[in-house]
Symmetry: none
Subunit: 437 residues, 2 copies
Amino acid sequence: MRAALLSIGDELLLGEKPETNSAAIAQLLLQHGIDTTQRQCVGDDRRAIHAALAALAAEAELVVATGGLGPTADDLTREALGDLISPGESLEIDTASAAAITARFAARGRVLQEVELRQARCPRGSRCLSNGVGVAPGIAARHGKTQIICLPGPPNEALPMLAAELSSLTHERGEQTSPSTIRCGIVQSCGLGETESARRLGELMRRDANPHVGTTASGAMVQARIRWRGQQATPEAIGSLQERIMALWHPWSYSPGDDPLSAVVGQMLRRRGESLAVAESCTGGLLGGECTHIPGSSDWFRGGVIAYSNQVKVDMLGVDPMSLLQHGAVSAQTARAMALGALSRFSADWAIAITGVAGPGGGTAEKPSGTVLVSVAGRAQVGTTRRFLIPGTRSGIRERSVRLALQALRFELLGCADQPLLHQVAHSVQSGERSAK
Amino acid sequence: MRAALLSIGDELLLGEKPETNSAAIAQLLLQHGIDTTQRQCVGDDRRAIHAALAALAAEAELVVATGGLGPTADDLTREALGDLISPGESLEIDTASAAAITARFAARGRVLQEVELRQARCPRGSRCLSNGVGVAPGIAARHGKTQIICLPGPPNEALPMLAAELSSLTHERGEQTSPSTIRCGIVQSCGLGETESARRLGELMRRDANPHVGTTASGAMVQARIRWRGQQATPEAIGSLQERIMALWHPWSYSPGDDPLSAVVGQMLRRRGESLAVAESCTGGLLGGECTHIPGSSDWFRGGVIAYSNQVKVDMLGVDPMSLLQHGAVSAQTARAMALGALSRFSADWAIAITGVAGPGGGTAEKPSGTVLVSVAGRAQVGTTRRFLIPGTRSGIRERSVRLALQALRFELLGCADQPLLHQVAHSVQSGERSAK
């Protein structure tokens, strides 16, 4: 069974409001074994909505539309659906819906404006879906072989309404659309690179393979998305395939699920009873922000210094001013000294330091924009300093720096700090002086 | 001129990754006087991409597609475009693109895999668009009366490429698509609340008004979006309307444009020759991250301490351990002491401290999740401490805290620190002890 989604609204079309319903609806459909093959978005325009409903109904067995069911003059989904399934006829008032709307306003002591009752209208031959959360009812209708479901825009109203409708639809269609039809899973990696990730997956990525694995690259991360059709796609089978991809991508793979890298690193530290401190220059606090995004991170995250100016590197982290002068703020020596300073000032077991040129200005021939040094130091382990040359914008460089830094610490904890990371151009396992000045 | 947008990718279709390109592209098109009338999304399926390109080209004069231009087997946009504009013919290698890709890999000392050169292929009759940021070139082609532009998925690659192409397209078409057709403008505010923002705009928000003003609320921010059609919509007229809205929303309005609040605050500090330091507990570095997002922020941003644990608050910011014990980490007294500590440790002119319960755990009846204290202290000004009760998730609470804290500093700089902010439940202009212990 193929589904097409339609979102309706000027604000969505023009991108003034992010369109989030489709993603949630596609996920819900997938859980019911229904594949979304197309998504479309149109404005508050009766002709455009009608045309889109007709086109999508010709392509798919299920059309799910959201938006345009409210009381105002620019809510036109009812009219457009009528143009498709009962052209030339006026909308009818659904008495159950009118009663529900009236009761809802009465229960809240609110004055019922006549315009609100516009929401009880529906095309001849359609069926209203009651709204357990808000005012506007949904509408279900059949057009040829296609089932059309129109839902209100707010996700907290649309999703429960759709879930209820899908249960009865699935029940009606029997085994054919049981949840076993499609199963999904993901695996996440950081620092491996898209081409190499794909090479390691080999045949699994073949377009017609079942299970099929696709990849998505974003920042320094690559995600594998498993989709498996048929009876063999048991949760256990998905789990083994995830483990297989984890192994193919080892040690860059960090989660056979949707855990953030910072949560994975935090969990490793928690198990070891160890703590982390950070010293950030070009990322200005984003690494700390990423660590503390994880609830309960106070168990393993101690704190950090945002050492944006050189004076702060000296005053708050004990970086030697002479060394700073000699090697510069963006150097392996400074990164190392920052990490050692954080380690001692915060009495932490581990410290990560980041210093670099995030751009767009500030680069030189020797240290162009995107040059980032990441140093990991441990109380009981010497640590590693890596030099990266990261492409992209200022925010892209900063975001990738944070992720690569977390992966660098993870490699240290795993004992594989000699493995390279994406964008890395130099690498040194430290053996120098341990104490910060 | 009407545009249709197509986003390509299984991960977008199935909602595994949020689709953010369309919104940014629609906004960019609007700035060039081009109305987006339709948006569509399909998976990594050659037949579906071809069908969508054909359908959209029949409806619109401009089709902008994103995604599916990478090196892997599931990147099929080139093939699908070929199926439309030069059916039956193989893709050709664009020599300039192949040279650019080779040079890019050489410059980074990376091994060029043959598969990367797949990205230099394009259909006969099309034209490659160079990518200033990443590897994959875009493609432009004409199909009947329709211009088709295919862009890589990453927004930081797609948007500059489209901007360059639109400039030449607009130039070529002359007056017909001159920006006078539609003009847009925005005004940004923080801490005012959506209902009050709308009330102050009054008649400007009427659906059929021209100019029409809509609002979008996100976090603690409300943005006014002006859309004005016709000859009267001169840049000057838009500018005056922006000024009018700035005045209606004063002092919560902070930009008649898209400047981030941190840039506005940074500009004020730069003009005064003053500097800022931060002390962050529950936001864990996000405020520093927001400040250093702005290029050139080293002129005014000194640094900060991520004081996630109490010990760090004592050791690195000089908070009195007895006071911490007596009032707790989430208290006006601790926030104040953190701000004074940052002020003195960083020798800054201003300091902002944030401490709170970001949840989901850790709340009490007296200090529920969402309780956040923001203290602003100045070298030459006593400062203000505000208590907030912020609704939402952990990340929502943290994000709003950062923005409200920046607005609190801005009010201090403007001399209107007595004005309340959204979610604020208590407010004290400090008169207590100045020195941190």
